[in-house]
Amino acid sequence: MRRLLLWSLLLVACRPSGRPAAGPALTDAAGRTVPLAPPARRIVSLLPSFTEILFAIGAGDHLVGRTAWCDYPPAARAVPSVGDGMPPNVEAVAARKPDLVVLYHSGPNVTAAGQLARLGIPGVLLDLNRLEDLAPAARALGRLTGREAAAESLAAAMDSLAARPPPPPFTSIVFVVWDNPPIIIGRGSYLHQLAALAGARNVFDDVTVPSAQVSLETIAARNPEWVAVLSDSAAPPAFAARREWRAVRAVRDRRFLLLAGSLFGRPGPRSSQAVAELRARLEGRGVAPR
């Protein structure tokens, strides 16, 4: 016990207690200090949203690594992939010799950022769950890359989207993430915000968390006009053919909204485009599937 205590004291003593304030620095979502100067020139982005933001603020040229999911803008595909990033492959990231790694703020990524720090690679952990996280993320990435002006104009647009009062809903929707057991999107999620801004009431707006398991009969009783599924395929989801799902009227009437994950599944610079396309499809002004 005493030895354990001694060891932990030693560990605490050895831990870098925040970088010495040699220059301007930024405090990230995990409370870590990231130096701002010099601007990052070799960046690894470990979330598709960050990749999109970096390109949108003109820092795309400095990307030297991305995840397998980073598919937009098309130029992102030319950047070497470092894997799926769940959790990050620290060696593959380090092999890109980055001077900045941008990570989504989550438990495994806090660990990965610590491992990168021990290799002398600065990492920044940013929240990106909802629309209101976009502007702060854009500003932070602007400061880290020396693209403040471009970042500020993107952030202003994101702020105004996040602050836009939702229009009165003219239809209702359920987002089905998984069919057995049925898992749906609740009020805590980005997709809920998208639906609200597009004029659709999420029938599970009383579920405060981002997603939750529910009973099929609750979906049937709440009777949404649309069943939305994140899917890159044009075919209805497999559960559409299952008998128990036919208790849901929208499934019987085949009112599915198949939303491409790249545009709809992530908050990013294209969120206002996602709102507009979702609105168009809810109004039946179908946007031709690409």
Partner: protein, 313 residues
């Protein structure tokens, strides 16, 4: 008297699972409601059939391996079912029945492998090898499953685990019909083995002296119990504790005679799962709890009480 009590509990459990639910359906419209008729009723019946099958399978396996810890899922079937489901997802097979069929095939493959391992010298089925082989095959299948999930890039694969622990969400009259057609054969095989199972409890040698065809009985019981479990996992995923706890409770009231123990385990298991599923659907509505959580929350305290009684007695 105890049959009356058990029957009453079972009927009440079934009634409750049809009447209660997260959606408000007035009592007067119960008979006409689409939700009740197409979602709640098949789900209640399926819960009862699955719970009953697991209860009987557990009772049979506990007698076969002469180990009170035996659970229908201990013998590698859940690992095999999970592997089957993940392979189907990785191969991008689509269709409403792909996952249940793949899980059933995976469970059957695990069953065959464990059975082959248990047949020592090609003839006699060794219950200890069955147990160890089951754990080994289950662990191996789980390792392959995890390897596939972490190597493949389809995010959907991660949901295979959700499916495997899915519970009764996919209940429909189709799945009820499947089980109604399928389960009677293995159930009848187990029931017909009631008397030899009583003898087997005395040990294999004494059972043989008393005239039981021990090897044939062991084989039949293992295959029938596993086939029941494989069907249960295909329609409802892995549901723990029913097959472990219910036989022990039934033994307290009905003793060790399998002729009454097995039917009691069926009705008791059915009632327990119907009650657990009703709770899973209603207590946190509109959200739902995984039914396995509820069976464990009910089952573990009961089990703990039983253990205390045994150790005191």
């Amino acid at each position: 008297m105890r049959w009356m009590l058990l029957g009453t509990v079972a009927v009440l459990a079934l009634l409750a699972s049809v009447v209660l639910g997260p959606a408000a359906v007035p009592l007067s419209e119960l008979g006409r409601s689409d939700i009740v008729w197409n979602l709640r009723a098949p789900r209640a019946v399926l819960a009862f059939l699955v719970g009953g099958s697991l209860g009987v399978a557990g009772a049979g396996l506990q007698a076969l391996v002469r180990n009170p810890l035996a659970d229908p899922f201990l013998l590698g079937l859940s690992g095999g079912a999970g592997l089957g489901a993940v392979i189907a997802l990785a191969l991008h097979l689509t269709g409403p029945w792909v996952l249940p069929l793949a899980a059933f095939a995976g469970a059957l493959a695990a069953l065959g492998l464990v059975y082959r391992m248990g047949l020592v010298g090609g003839a006699a089925l060794d219950p200890r090898i069955l147990l160890l082989g089951g754990v080994a095959v289950g662990a191996f299948a789980a390792a392959i499953t995890t390897a596939i999930v972490s190597l493949a890039d389809a995010a959907e694969l991660r949901n295979a685990f959700l499916w495997l622990w899915g519970g009764l969400s996919a209940a429909s009259w189709d799945s009820v019909l499947l089980l109604v057609l399928y389960a009677p054969v293995p159930l009848a095989v187990l029931l017909a083995a009631a008397r030899p199972l009583d003898l087997l409890a005395l040990g294999e040698e004494p059972a043989r002296y008393l005239g039981a065809d021990v090897e044939a009985v062991k084989r039949r019981v293992y295959l029938a119990a596993s086939l029941l479990t494989a069907a249960a996992v295909a329609v409802s995923g892995v549901i723990g504790f029913v097959g472990l706890v219910v036989p022990h409770i039934a033994r307290l009231a009905w003793g060790h005679r399998h002729r009454s123990l097995l039917p009691a385990a069926f009705i008791g298991g059915g009632a327990l799962l119907a009650i657990a599923d009703t709770l899973a659907r209603t207590v946190v509505a509109p959200r739902e709890l995984p039914v396995g959580v509820v069976t464990a929350l009910i089952g573990v305290p009961v089990f703990a009480l039983l253990l205390r009684r045994w150790t005191i007695a």
